[in-house]
Structures are given as C-alpha cells and as structure tokens.
Subunit: 148 residues, 2 copies
C-alpha cells in the first residue's frame, strides 16, 4: 500500500490514528470533570467568545446540528451553558455560559497543564511546521469540497 497512488490513503490513516490517540490523552484527564473531548471543545470555543449561535460553533468545529444539539443539551443539563432562542431570529439558538461554565475554564486548564507541558518538549519549529502543514491541508480539503 506504499504505491505511488496511496498518499491520500496513507495520510488519512495517519490523521485518523493520531487524532484518536491524542484525543484519548485529553480524555483521560477530562474524565476527572466528567467532560468528553467534544464537550471540552465546545466549551473552549465559548470561553473564547460567549453567546455564539449553534451555527457558529458548528463552523468553528466543523460539526453540524445533528452532533451539536444533543451535546449542547447535555452541557445544559450539566449546568455549564444555557440555550436561548433569539428574539430577533427565532430560528437561531444562542449559547450562553453559566457561572459554573465560566468557572470550569480554570479547572480544565489546570487539569491539562501536564499534557501541554509534555508538548512543550517538542521543538517549537517542528510543531509550528506541523500545525501550518495541517492547516493548509485542511483548507485544501475544504476548497476541493466546494468544487465537487
């Protein structure tokens, strides 16, 4: 399978494997707060900018309402967010952090510190090259999506 015609196959397998393994490392630590990795991602997005529409969260994480609606309901049941249908446009739902939701950020950062420290061992140039390459790959995939 290392033909000249399997670069995409090879890369997809590497991305598939490495993302799941890295997410597992996050998950192990997040378990202490009963948070899943996707829930943590949504909270991270909201810590950056509170009050986002479901739509907007989906764009940032490349997830649709089929995934987000139940996840956000779960976060609401855990009292980390509130879901409010906007008055100006009744189709949309804005997600607001609650006080416990805001407070969670410090705990999560503390919890994930060891993981981040492990990563700081990797030489910074290498890491930023990797980030850059994956980001440009991601853009490439997205733009090719629109062509098909």
């Amino acid at each position: 399978m290392s033909d000249s015609n399997s670069s995409a196959h090879h890369l997809s397998l590497l991305l598939y494997s490495s993302s799941r393994l890295l997410i597992q490392q996050f998950q192990i630590r997040l378990n202490e707060l009963n948070l899943t990795y996707p829930q943590y991602l949504v909270m991270s997005v909201l810590w950056e900018e509170d009050g986002l529409l479901v739509n907007k969260i989906g764009q940032k994480l490349h997830l649709d309402s089929g995934t987000l609606t139940p996840l956000l309901k779960k976060l609401e049941s855990m009292n980390f967010v509130k879901r409010n249908r906007s008055e100006s446009d009744e189709r949309t739902v804005a997600i607001q952090l609650t006080y416990p939701g805001k407070s969670l950020q410090v705990k999560v950062l503390e919890l994930l510190k060891p993981l981040e420290e492990n990563f700081s061992e990797i030489e910074n140039p290498e890491l930023s090259t990797l980030n850059h390459s994956i980001k440009s790959l991601l853009e490439r995939i997205e733009s090719s999506k629109n062509r098909n």
Copy 2:
C-alpha cells in the same frame, strides 16, 4: 487560546478537524460500494495481509474489539470476509478474505483514484514531511502512554 500553553489543544483540534474532513472525502466515494471508512481500512489491512487475527488488525488501526467485533460481523454479513476461530488457540479469531472481498480491492482503487490524483498535486516533499511529522507525533503519544 493561542497562549504559549495551548499547543496540544491547538494541534488536537487541527487533527480532529482535518481527519474528519479527509475521511468525509473518502466516504463520499465509498458510498457507491456501501462501505464505510473504517470498513475500508479493515479491508485495506487484509488486502495487505490476509488471515490476520482480530488482535493484529486492531494493532494496525489502533482499534479494540469493541469496535472491531461488530464491524467484522458486518463485513462478514456483506460476504467480504469470514471469521474463523483458530484451532490452535480457541481464543483467537482469524479473518479471511472471501473471493468477493478480494475482488473488491480493484473496484475501491478505481473509485478512489480521483482522490489520490488530487493529492498528487501537493508537492511531494511537503506531503512526505507532513507524513513524517505526524508519524513521529504518533510514536511520541504512544510512548508517553506507556509512561502514564
């Protein structure tokens, strides 16, 4: 979230997003054969080496029996593989390709050709750097797993 202390967060999000997007590109094409991406991966592993134990497939794809058992039963119901409990060690199950399972390879390769051709546009050095970086990242994660 672009602090000095969020490299792992940032990288995990990139891997999470890009892997799902790339897999979607595969999935779109695989739909024609009613194959899912994980099913395709398992078939790929078997096309490389037939008769592997469930265990061995799991090692290659970083998946456990909780994922593989139902997936392999599905592939068996589609008549692409046969699951045989080994006589020498009754705990293990060897997975054999059927004739339709072997024949499927050519169809899949043909189906995925356009995707592979898209990828060949990316400069080869860049792609091989990316592959190499992710692979070393993957090894890093795996070795750190054993330390924790």
